[in-house]
């Protein structure tokens, strides 16, 4: 049995239902990536898996227990999350921010152990922000800042790590940089990673397990090589395309069909593909 799973969950914000009867298993030691068009419920699913959103029906299980019934700090020592929105407090240094990741391991009488210090130093080295330790977080570039937040999540030392669109707002080399880091964390330390990604090609390249969602339902899941086909992309994103082998990695590469082919030769249709 896998450590993290959602069983028949109904996910809703107030009255707006995002998904019903949704079941997802996160395979242990996988790098699972959730993809799907905007508003398909992928971030919502991640919020439910990280107990940020309580399902209105069904349950999320972590190590066989309903996640909401577990002590908050205990969950936080098992499952980490890098949310989409986070705020660096005014005037905080990189070192101090990363150190805050140790919160679930600390208590009134155990505020700053030698272990805390070691883990923080390691996390910063791992994400290559060690030399920035004394700098203020406000002064950093977007790519550096994202690495600092990942370092904070690493300092939490959780076997499971969830990332909600970790590459959004980064330019291409920093996107790859962050994804490489994720792949390292997965491969070298055997962590289970779950990420929501926008870019299907990044997902196909880095994921070991892909979950394709549309309108709150799982359309397909499995290894990218097995499931990413032109048919699936059309079904999930409503986009006609060709799937070829990525010349660099051999993983599936989605190439959208030319505009003329998609619009039946008129070539005048506006609107954005992939958001239907």
């Amino acid at each position: 049995m896998n450590r993290l799973s959602a069983e028949n969950v109904t996910l809703a914000y107030d009255q707006r239902v995002i998904a019903e009867q949704l079941s997802v298993e996160i395979p242990d030691n996988s790098f699972t990536v959730i993809v799907g068009p905007n508003a398909c419920g992928k971030s919502t699913l991640l919020r439910a898996l990280s107990r940020m959103l309580k399902p209105s029906a069904g349950r999320v299980l972590l190590d066989g227990q309903v996640i909401q019934s577990m002590p908050a700090k205990k969950v936080a020592r098992t499952l980490g999350l890098l949310p989409q929105s986070s705020i660096a407090p005014d005037g905080i240094t990189v070192g101090d921010l990363v150190a805050r990741g140790r919160y679930p391991h600390q208590g009134l009488l155990r505020q700053w152990s030698a272990e805390d210090e070691r883990v923080v130093r390691e996390s910063m080295a791992r994400t290559r922000v060690g030399e920035l330790a004394e700098r203020y977080v406000d002064e950093l570039s977007g790519g550096q800042r994202q690495r600092v937040w990942i370092a904070m999540a690493l300092a939490q030392q959780t076997p499971l790590l969830l990332l909600d669109e970790p590459t959004t707002y980064l330019d291409i080399q920093h996107q790859i940089d962050v994804l490489d880091l994720c792949a390292d964390l997965h491969e070298e330390q055997g962590r289970t990673l779950v990420a929501v990604l926008h870019d299907l090609n990044h997902a196909a390249r880095y994921a070991t397990h892909l979950v394709a969602l549309r309108e709150g339902r799982v359309i397909a899941q499995g290894a990218p090589k097995d499931i990413v086909t032109a048919g699936l992309v059309e079904e999930v994103f409503g986009l006609r395309c060709q799937v070829i082998d990525d010349p660099a990695t051999g993983t599936p590469l989605v190439v959208p069909a030319a505009r003329t082919a998609r619009t039946g030769g008129k070539g005048r249709q506006t609107g954005t593909a992939g958001t239907s």
Binding site: S86, I87, A88, G95, R100, Y103, W112
Partner: protein
């Protein structure tokens, strides 16, 4: 990180000391106590600091004992407690709303307490004790209204501030109406109450405030680690194992209680809740809510302001709220100008 020292004891105990913050706290405490001694010695019957200390130790003569223990000490203690409560309440509000303007002065808690007090003064011509109860009720009710209107699905800094300003405007209008309906004696009493004053405060005000602080200050400090995590956003705090909703409810309730009871004891002393946490933070230069430093800063600020007002204008001539208002207003302007230069507002 530089000023943080780790203290590790055998048995796995470890503590974190921010040397600078600790120095600031000790310094502010010393300043507050020194100002208190000077304040006790100030008045129509001046006493030297040595005399004050001797009398406090129980070795003064009968006249000195009466003046110190019955008249001036309770007033100073009320000042310290009100300042500390306002400093802590303000720090909590600012930290939870992640906005320096999210303090009780701006949010209309002071005005709400004033409305309660005015109602008792104008409509019922109540006693001082009843006025205090009215103020407490008014403050709590305003806090509740703001909570209901602003808290839906978590606080967003500006939403809280805007709701607070709206509530504040409504309550100010109510206060204006109550004043116009009052006769001249009640109106004079109301105006003195509204500027915030420590004159005539005695042990009856000290005990309830002291009891409340004795409960709430440790409760709040026990949650300060969680509050520190919440400054990074609700999502991050959840991920780190903070029960965000519960912590926020406990802390906001404490902040409203602290502010409302401080206002009930001394009137709406302006700007202490806004400025004390900001000044404390600039002295400690530490990120985070800086709760202890804000408590000490509030106490020191209020007692110093009371001393200035007595010193410059004679006993009971000028309510302490006027001095804190001037000090706080000037400080706020300075803050806004420098923040603007730093490009943050």
């Amino acid at each position: 990180m530089k000023s943080n020292r780790a203290v590790r004891l055998p048995g796995g105990l470890s503590f974190r000391l921010d040397v600078r913050a600790l120095t600031v706290v000790v310094g502010l405490l010393a300043a507050a106590l020194a100002a208190s001694v000077v304040l006790i010695g100030t008045g129509d019957f001046p006493m030297s600091a040595a005399d004050v200390l001797r009398t406090l130790a129980g070795e003064g003569n009968a006249g000195q004992e009466l003046i110190v223990n019955e008249l001036r000490l309770p007033r100073v203690l009320v000042g310290l407690l009100v300042g500390a409560s306002l400093g802590l309440g303000g720090a909590l509000f600012q930290s939870v709303s992640r906005n320096p303007l999210g303090s009780p002065d701006v949010l209309g808690l002071g005005q709400g307490a004033t409305a309660g007090a005015l109602t008792v003064i104008v409509v019922f011509s109540g006693t001082a004790g009843q006025v205090a109860l009215g103020a407490l009720a008014g403050g709590l009710l305003t806090g509740f209204v703001i909570y209901v209107l602003a808290w839906k699905r978590g606080v967003h800094g500006y939403r809280l501030v805007l709701v607070g300003i709206g509530v504040s405007a409504v309550v100010t209008a109510v206060n204006g109406y109550l004043l116009t309906k009052s006769d001249i004696v009640d109106a004079a009493r109301a105006v003195v109450w509204m500027t915030g004053s420590l004159s005539g405060r005695d042990w009856d005000q000290v005990w309830p405030l002291l009891a409340l602080c004795a409960v709430l200050v440790p409760l709040v400090l026990a949650h300060s680690g969680a509050l520190r995590m919440m400054e990074m956003g609700d999502d991050v705090a959840y991920a780190l194992g903070v029960r965000v909703e519960r912590v926020r409810l406990v802390l906001m309730l404490s902040a409203v209680l602290l502010t409302a009871s401080a206002t009930a004891a001394a009137g709406p002393v302006s700007f202490v809740a806004l400025t004390a946490p900001q000044l404390a933070r600039r002295l400690t230069r530490a990120p985070g809510p800086n709760l202890v430093a804000a408590v000490c800063m509030g106490a020191a600020l209020l007692v110093t302001a009371d001393w200035i007002s007595q010193r410059a204008f004679g006993a009971d001539q000028l309510p302490v709220g006027v001095v804190t208002g001037v000090l706080g207003g000037v400080y706020l302007l300075w803050l806004l100008v420098t923040e603007r230069r730093a490009g943050r507002i």
